[in-house]
């Protein structure tokens, strides 16, 4: 893996290289270089399996992290490639031409984080949420409690009571 990392540092200026564990390396690369890097790894270095694409919201620094995990099934190595994009202009180059299932991951990330992947097949179709028009739900600033209170409570005809008092009132109305 050391030779490979040296090569990637020369060719794609990868940085923050860390050993996550045995046979698994984390590295960071500029977002614009991700498709070229993944293509190189797939065609020339044996990383032919895309395990997953994931996203992390770092709201405090105003960035989204996209993580591409690729695997070399022959040498049993993993690479976790991280790229950071701006939260304000959340858009990333699609890699659907490299792997058949990449478009599914991208479609889900578009829905859950609002990160666009222009050109990715069916990227604008809803994946889980039909007719969702609120903030993308996996963003850190989406307030789940507020959303559920506004959407589901209070329903007409529904009242809430303190269980102890309510039972006392029903079962022993005369007791003080």
């Amino acid at each position: 893996m050391e030779n490979l990392i040296n090569k990637l540092q020369d060719m794609f200026a990868v940085k923050d290289v860390q050993d996550s564990k045995k046979n698994q390396i984390l590295l960071t690369v500029k977002a614009s270089k991700v498709p070229a890097l993944l293509s190189f790894l797939k065609e020339f270095e044996g990383f032919k399996v895309l395990v997953m694409i994931s996203s992390v919201d770092w709201i405090e620094i105003g960035k989204f992290q996209l993580s591409y995990i690729v695997n070399d099934p022959d040498k049993k190595n993993d690479l976790i490639i991280r790229a950071f994009i701006s939260r304000k202009e959340a858009s990333m180059i699609s890699i659907h031409s490299l792997w058949g299932h990449a478009s599914t991951f991208q479609r889900e990330i578009k829905e859950m984080y609002g990160i666009d992947f222009p050109g990715s097949p069916r990227v604008d179709e809803p994946f889980l949420l039909e007719g969702w028009d609120d903030t993308p739900p996996m963003r850190r600033d989406f307030d789940t409690k507020k959303y559920s209170e506004e959407t589901f409570f209070p329903r007409p005809g529904r009242e809430s009571n303190d269980p102890a008092e309510y039972m006392k009132k029903r079962l022993y109305p005369d007791e003080k």
Partner: protein, 399 residues
């Protein structure tokens, strides 16, 4: 009259160019032409897989286009994890896959231990292996005959449920729970084997041996089953890496892929077993691989019981789990589930709460990208058989 009838019956069997495709490779489907109809399979619970629907476009009895729709089981687990401490994620994460919850527990535990720098005692590792293999066994006992159930051969499924119950009884004894076990927690496991447990489990395994012989006669020798599964749902070899296919589906296409062998975890390197491989890559081959997996799992359980220590530490010393700050870091952990590689991508930001836990289940590709392509040009009556042969589990797609 006779000639007309013959020409009607001898239709052109080469359907690969039908319907016509546009320049982007999408089928040209005009519903107004009355040559096509839309049929929805699901989202009711079909029995083995879970709530998911397939939007099928049919011409005659042939599927010409298919789209997977998920979201009927979405409970926002990954969002919930971000608001919970690691130990609070532990009883939540198991709900992400109902048939085989133990793989979730294991991944969460191992990910937390890797990021937190905890080493687990050996006895706990053996017990984890025991729980994982028992979980695999109970899934396969339901899934192997369940494959025949999709074609109307329901008897095997009924028998399978009985033998699955035997393993669930053992789970109840070991963990207190039948379906959700909450046994493998960060730092170790919750308890040792109760007295006499191994004898009862071995007795169950002997019964299951007899059951495997029975399903060989009932299903493998069944002409209807063979005729309907051989050649159905064929997955070409080049799809395996292109779509990230794993587990029994990849092994049925001749690929040696098994996390237990490729990335040995726990003490799997001390056990004697091999990849179960087939070459044909159709529904029958996948069924055959799972049947072999069933035999292997029974054998592995016997090996584990013979080798594992009966006493010893089962929990490592961890910080107070309610105030446990996990150091900043990222990891991807994987385990071999009955359906294939099952992984967690975990990111910690140095606080008591996980920043991100993302599940990558085998169904994510099998039931969406692969199934949508695989169903095209298949017969509508084979749809459920193909879907089950890919071991679809919708909760792990939508989390």
């Amino acid at each position: 009259m006779k000639n007309n009838l013959t020409s009607l019956l001898n239709w052109n069997t080469n359907r690969s160019n039908y319907p016509e495709m546009d320049a982007d490779g999408n089928p040209i489907i005009d519903l107004e032409s009355q040559k096509f109809i839309k049929v929805w399979q699901g989202p009711n619970h079909p029995g083995v897989t879970g709530n998911m629907s397939l939007e099928l476009t049919i011409s005659g009895d042939e599927v010409v286009d298919s789209k997977t729709h998920v979201g009927y089981l979405h409970r926002g687990f990954e969002k919930l994890f971000e608001r919970r401490k690691y130990i609070q994620c532990f009883p939540t994460c198991i709900r992400m896959c109902v048939p085989e919850p133990d793989t979730n527990e294991y991944n969460l535990a191992v990910g937390t231990e890797e990021l937190g720098g905890i080493e687990v005692p050996d006895t706990a590792k053996w017990l984890r292996m025991l729980a994982l293999e028992m979980a695999r066994l109970q899934v396969l006992l339901r899934m192997v005959p369940g494959q025949a159930g999709t074609m109307g051969l329901g008897l095997g499924s009924q028998w399978g449920m009985y033998y699955r119950e035997l393993i669930l009884d053992r789970f109840e004894e070991l963990t207190g729970g039948r379906i959700y076990h909450m046994y493998i927690l960060p730092g170790g496991v919750r308890g040792l084997m109760p007295e006499g447990f191994d004898k009862r489990l071995l007795g169950n395994l002997d019964k299951i041996d007899g059951f495997i012989a029975d399903i060989d006669k009932l299903i493998f020798s069944n002409a209807v089953f063979k005729k309907r599964t051989i050649g159905t749902g064929f997955i070409p070899n080049d799809w395996v890496d292109h779509y990230g296919i794993t587990g029994p589906v990849a092994r049925a296409a001749g690929y040696k892929r098994d996390v237990r062998k490729d990335y040995p975890y726990l003490f799997y390197d001390q056990l004697d077993f091999d990849y179960n491989i087939a070459q044909e890559s159709d529904v029958f081959a996948r069924f055959e691989v799972r049947r072999q997996d069933l035999v292997t799992t029974v054998d592995l359980l016997r090996q584990i019981l013979a080798k594992m220590p009966r006493t010893g530490d089962i929990r490592a010393t961890t910080p107070n789990v309610l105030h446990w700050k996990i150091p900043k870091g990222e990891t991807y952990v994987r385990v071999e589930s009955s359906r294939g590689e099952y992984g967690f991508y975990m990111v910690s930001d140095g606080t008591e709460y996980p920043r991100r836990i993302n599940l990558r289940g085998p169904s994510y590709t099998h039931a969406v990208s692969v199934l949508e392509k695989l169903l095209v040009n298949s017969n509508i009556s084979d749809v459920s058989a193909i879907m089950v042969s890919l071991a679809t589990c919708p909760p792990e797609i939508e989390r």
